[in-house]
Symmetry: C2
Subunit: 181 residues, 2 copies
Amino acid sequence: MIRPWPLAGSEQVFSAGLFRVTCDRARSPRTGEERNFHVIHMVDWLMVVPLTIDGGLVMVRQYRHGSRAASLEVPGGLHDAAGESAETGTARELAEETGYANGELVLLGDLRPQPALLSNTAHIYLAKGVQPVAGQEQDAGEDIEVVLIDRREIPARIARGEINNAMTLSALAMAHFAGHL
Amino acid sequence: MIRPWPLAGSEQVFSAGLFRVTCDRARSPRTGEERNFHVIHMVDWLMVVPLTIDGGLVMVRQYRHGSRAASLEVPGGLHDAAGESAETGTARELAEETGYANGELVLLGDLRPQPALLSNTAHIYLAKGVQPVAGQEQDAGEDIEVVLIDRREIPARIARGEINNAMTLSALAMAHFAGHL
């Protein structure tokens, strides 16, 4: 049985545009020793696996500033919990990034993106039967290409390293193991 | 075609135990506008999907300080590139965390844990035919329980939210889509 580590203190040590960092002091239930852990806090994330009626998976390719490379991903974004529900935000991100809409949105589940380092959660949706209804609406920080792939291509694209974003892979895993992919 | 954003500058703005943060200034190739992006840098990660001869998946449960909850995961750790090869480090982490060893180690591929936010890479291995050979060797920051599950339980454990760590889900996705799970 894994017991929680009682928290002895938490102090904010850095704050940037999208995240802040705390230094948390916690006590090991096994050794009694206290240790410091730096934790990154930011809003929750939204991700969606959009499927067309004829077996297409709607993905986006965009430049990512952490990896400094283009990344092939499922659509998603940040969840402004004060502004809208997770479902509304997911449908909005999907439409803005891809121009696809009108799907049936189903919550696949919630993930922890990196529970050792990040405190936030990602809400993962399936959108069944999406259709192209409009153009994209990109803000100045975005430069997004819509990529419609046959879902049977997913294993080969993973094997070739074309799909290598862990968040996208985990969303595809949730959709697959739930029987949708 | 997604073009790279030329980097106009990068400045370190924070440094903690395991990571440092830079503020990178990059220019959009679409609009020409410059924007700041905060990027988190740390060493690469190692993860391994360990399978026993009879279809068992060796997992670990441990308390995670980002989520402040116990997490059911595949074994892994940080890659000290100066100290050892990724393969040696993976075998060592597997043995220390679980007491299982003697498997055939195969590189499934490299992932980007979070390419918008993190600059690092995770090296994902399969270990085929592992056997229990010794006890665990935990350091003071660890409190790890070994959990041997039947791999046929994976979909149900994901559906119930018991496996909800995106890094673990992405490693399982790589193993599954490569035909090993």
